[in-house]
């Protein structure tokens, strides 16, 4: 939620266009939590973002739900299929591609109509770049964090 707040403070041209740093806890939790608890983290993240950003009753919340859950399922699937052969960078990119595609499809229905296909290429490109950066950060954080090591020990 801390990361959600940071993300909320970053100016965006369109409210549902997020750089995705709030996905960091989900990315780190992938190898730490069982699937039901991971999905609970995603649920808490989207509701928390809705509360912190005050968007719980808006389309922004729907975009957040669609993007976050699709991304989480895609990341889980990637981890299951490729195991240790895929890094958090790869997992993050897979999650971003699926999550952003879900958001574009929703934007096609709710907001932009056919015009959504115009924003799709830059949206997916930006999402991929930020997901790669986020994955790199997650890899380094996982390797260095004393807090995460403590959480792993107590889990």
């Amino acid at each position: 939620m801390f990361l959600s707040a940071i993300e909320y403070m970053i100016p965006k041209p369109i409210p549902f266009l997020r750089v995705g740093i709030a996905n960091l806890p989900v990315l780190i939790s992938l190898d730490l939590l069982p699937v039901p608890l991971l999905l609970l983290v995603v649920l808490l993240k989207v509701i928390g973002q809705g509360l912190v950003g005050g968007t719980l009753f808006s389309y922004v919340f729907l975009f957040s739900v669609a993007g976050s859950f699709t991304s989480a399922f895609a990341m889980l699937l990637a981890r299951r299929l490729f195991g240790a052969r895929i890094t958090l960078v790869g997992v993050g990119i897979v999650g971003a591609l699926f999550g952003n595609t879900a958001q574009i499809l929703l934007a096609r229905v709710l907001i932009f109509g056919q015009g959504a296909w115009l924003i799709a290429p830059p949206f997916l490109a930006i999402g991929t770049v930020t997901a790669a950066a986020l994955g790199t950060f997650a890899e380094r954080f996982s390797a260095r964090s004393a807090w995460l090591a403590e959480v792993r020990r107590s889990a």
Partner: protein
Amino acid sequence: MRTGHSTSTVLPGAHASPQALFLCGALLFPPFLMQQDLVVRGGLILVFLVVNVLAGKGVRLLQFAVVFGGIVLFNLVIRTGKVLAAPLGLQITEGALKSGLMKATAMVGLIVLSQFSIRRSLRLPGHIGGLIGRSLFYFEAIMNERRRIDRRDIIGSIDAILLSVRASGEPAVLPATDAPHPTQNARGLAALAVLVAFNWTVFALTLVHPRPFWGG
């Protein structure tokens, strides 16, 4: 644009608990979303903007204008119906403009309504509500420490904050979900009830007396 409010004046949102505001928002968004009269919908957005300002919430007019304009522009790309104008070679068709305006007003209106009715201090009931309350406790604790983030060592400084918040432990008693809001009063609740009644009445009237899309 940010304004304060007098404590002696009863304003929608200023004297109501987060739970009451949440309920108010839940009751307000169906008639707004189902409202098909563009002029009335625009008027309702103005009402939501005004109550937001009166409740002391920030209103980002420029951001709303960019969002609104962007949505209308993207919808104009697909031409449907008769051509109304063609500035700079861009054909503005009636069907595309109507669709864009309805979607843009829905988007902006729901954001404004949501910002009015959702407060960070809202505590939802049940197990999930308890977990969200706990998450918000940690969120507030971490936000209080955010100045300690060092750009030269982002991972290390974030880690130090997480460790210190973890060491401080959970609150003995999490904020109760049904505790009365310190400034809530009957008149504050009545103001919310009037706002809800007004929206549903307007919706009913536009159902009974539908007008052409462009009003008049």
